[in-house]
Subunit: 198 residues, 2 copies
DNA sequence: GTCTATACGACGATAGAC
DNA sequence: GTCTATCGTCGTATAGAC
């Protein structure tokens, strides 16, 4: 807040993205103006265009970054047999999403505000994530440990259920993150037809 | 399209709401202008204000109407023991939501665009719906037919799973509505810890 | 790298003619 | 009941000073 001029290109860029993330998540892409983002960062509106060619690209970069981070983190999960893999996937999904409520909100709600070419790119990333879960379900059905009439539909149903956690979870609430993770993972396993050991 | 003037108050009102519903669902409340709605109806922008005091009220009326319709339809389900009641609820939820994809989309995505007082009113209606499902789950746990560590959390997880159907279902796709209903209901029952008879 | 100033159009909403 | 015309504001994006 001290100096008003000078060289800040390496820190102002991330701050622009952070402000856009917060504001888009809270009010929605269409409802947020470039002037608001600039005010949040502490610069004038015109200065934003040093860091992004336009508002649409700002949205796309946030969404693409989120999806790439998600896929990169997913790739670090160790291989496991189907039941353990589904349990691991569910817990990973809950944890990852609870860590980034704002990015998640944008990734799911602002799809329709992407221009066609950008939408296609994000959809492709989303499908790669879904394919990872479907592979687990498919393997489990093949091994006879899951009971699922349709792995494609089950994939979408499970992801919707797990992602729903972001609609209500609040830090410091009745349940801790580990408890929430455990309960959701157990429900996911049961939904897949696994009878739990206990 | 024929006559440009005359008395239309009884049909123009519903047409305004229908146009707003379609446009809000497709592009989002904040991204839709009163001029666009007017163009869709075939009147000038100023004429819309004969049917709604402002844009915000238009959104609120759509959401409130949707939730009231949902609760009214829910109230017509016959009483049943927990397992049958959950099966019936899941099928009802899927069917109702597939019948109104646009209203559903708005009801879930435009909450943040409601002014505080309107938000509170819609939230109260949503909670009444959730309470109906939780009552079923609670009764089932009490009778020992459901295995759920937390009925509140399970309520939200199940609703998220079931509502997710609207994200991908398209008329004329691979699966018919009855099949989708059956598969989701079976997954909901299993997630609640019911071991299916088959 | 950030500022001020501005171009130009669209916004929600209203007033008054018909 | 709908129109045209308009108010005041705000939108994205750009130009040029420093």
């Amino acid at each position: 807040m001290a100096r008003k001029t000078g060289s800040h290109s390496d820190i102002t860029g991330p701050r622009v993205r952070a402000a856009a993330l917060r504001l888009f998540a809270r009010h929605g892409y269409a409802a947020v103006s470039m002037r608001q983002i600039a005010a949040e960062v502490g610069v004038q509106a015109g200065a934003l265009y040093l860091y992004t060619p336009d508002k649409q690209t700002l949205l796309f970069d946030l969404m693409q970054g989120h999806m790439q981070e998600l896929l990169a983190a997913l790739a670090h999960l160790p291989p496991a047999p189907p039941v353990a893999a589904l349990n691991q996937f569910a817990r990973f999904h809950i944890r990852f999403h609870l860590d980034r409520p704002e990015s998640v909100f944008i990734a799911y709600m602002e799809l329709r505000n992407l221009e066609p070419a950008n939408f296609t790119a994000i959809e492709a990333l989303r499908r790669r994530y879904e394919a990872a879960l479907e592979a687990i379900l498919h393997a489990g059905v093949a091994e006879g440990v899951f009971t699922l009439p349709d792995t494609k539909l089950a994939t979408l149903a499970l992801i919707a259920m797990l992602t729903g956690v972001t609609n209500w979870y609040r830090e410091g609430g009745r349940l801790g993150r580990d408890e929430v993770e455990a309960i959701y993972a157990a429900m996911a396993l049961r939904a897949a037809g696994v009878i739990p050991p206990a």
